[in-house]
């Protein structure tokens, strides 16, 4: 792929499920970041899929840390590199549970302290590693093992919580658009200070679809407008092409829901709520981009 090296930083293979989009994301994140990088990984699928001691599939230093601690550990690490005069990339790679729920205070602190690091949340919209329990990031109506009748609450608006820290760079991305993802990682790493990326990561067993459809589902999330792709540099918002297209001519939301078993019990009123939330989000983004 243009823009990144041919070098792979993950040895064949991890123990991730077949068709895991989080693995695809991390593969490209590491290719974009290059060898002078350390990863900080809290408890999540990514800690388990590395392999079992004394071997690992990852050919890059990784610190596996406690669930709530990724951003705190990354802060200490960034301070250590700075005092040594090193420009090593510090990247925290965490799940949605470890970000929107349990790790949120550590992230908020690191952003406030202007830690020089990139925090990436890969969002498979549940606690995947422990068997798909509901998280704050699970969308309304989705069946998980702890919401067998479908989640009754809405997905937490993580990105506006992060945006309230007025950081130098934040972006959303999706595993179905690796070139866009790579550009954003490279841009983030070229900026000093705290950076944040929120990346949608379809998960075949958790979302209940055939592993061959991982990319199609990610594209559909963007084409419906449900997953908005944008970049924010300080308070300057740029909406990315695929989301601009979705704002003009969106694919019906139902097309996205019917691809996934987890939405099989979705009720009409829930679809209305999700659509309302989605339209509000896109309206707010549009107004922000236009500077009003």
């Amino acid at each position: 792929m243009s823009g990144t090296s041919a070098t792979e930083y993950i040895c064949k293979c991890t123990s991730a499920c077949a068709g895991c989009s989080s693995s695809l994301i991390l593969r490209h994140v590491l290719k974009a970041a290059g060898p002078d990088t350390v990863l900080v990984v809290p408890a999540c699928c990514t800690s388990v899929l590395q392999g079992v001691w004394p071997n690992t599939a990852f050919n890059i230093p990784i610190y596996n840390v406690a669930f709530a601690a990724a951003a705190a550990v990354a802060s200490g690490m960034a301070a250590a590199f700075e005092s040594l005069g090193k420009n090593t990339n510090v990247i925290a790679y965490a799940g949605d549970g470890g970000t929107v729920d349990i790790g949120i205070q550590a992230i908020s602190g690191a952003l406030e302290r202007e830690t020089n690091f990139l925090y990436i949340c890969y969002d498979n919209e549940a606690y995947g590693n422990t068997g798909m329990q509901r998280s704050g990031s699970t969308p309304m109506g989705a069946r998980t093992t702890t919401t067998p009748g479908g989640k009754t609450h809405k997905k937490k608006d993580l990105d506006r919580i992060i945006a309230a820290h007025h950081l130098p760079y934040m972006a959303t991305a999706c595993s179905a658009y690796p070139q866009d993802l790579v550009k954003k990682v490279q841009k983030a790493l070229s900026i000093k200070g705290p950076k944040f990326m929120h990346i949608l990561a379809p998960c075949p067993p958790g979302w209940r679809y055939d592993s061959s459809q991982t990319i199609e589902i990610g594209k559909m999330a963007v084409k419906t407008g449900l997953w908005a792709m944008y970049e924010r540099e300080y308070d300057n918002l740029t909406i990315n092409g695929p989301t601009k297209a979705a704002m003009i001519k969106p694919t019906p939301l139902e097309d996205y829901f019917k691809m996934q078993g987890r939405f099989s019990g979705l009720k009409e009123e829930q679809i209305r709520t999700i659509r309302g939330e989605m339209e509000r989000n896109l309206r707010m983004l549009k107004a922000e981009a236009e500077g009003c």
């Binding site: 293979c13 077949a18 593969r27 392999g51 079992v52 004394p54 599939a57 990852f58 459809q213 991982t214």
Partner: protein, 87 residues
């Protein structure tokens, strides 16, 4: 040093999680006649088992089928594995 060796450090190794190709139910078969070397399959393979010549490493390919879905030339077919596991 003795102190350090007690730390739980893992080292990189191919096959750290075993030969994941044994997971496969369907195997990707590339029709080289149809392939135009666009590189989509290699870009989208979550496990990076497709090399620069678009050869698939069947020791590790998990058979997810993403490459076959995404190939714009429909040059990859997913074929059910036989009873005897090849590779």
């Amino acid at each position: 040093m003795a102190e350090r060796e007690r730390l739980a450090i893992s080292r990189p190794k191919e096959g750290a999680c075993g030969n994941t190709g044994t997971w496969r139910v369907f195997r990707p078969v590339v029709d080289k006649e149809k392939c135009n070397s666009c590189g989509m399959c290699a870009m989208y393979c979550p496990d990076g088992v497709i090399d620069e010549n678009y050869e698939i490493d069947l020791v590790f390919c998990k058979g997810c089928g993403i490459c076959a879905t995404e190939c714009p030339k429909k040059a990859i077919e997913m074929v059910r594995e036989g009873n005897t596991t090849s590779q």
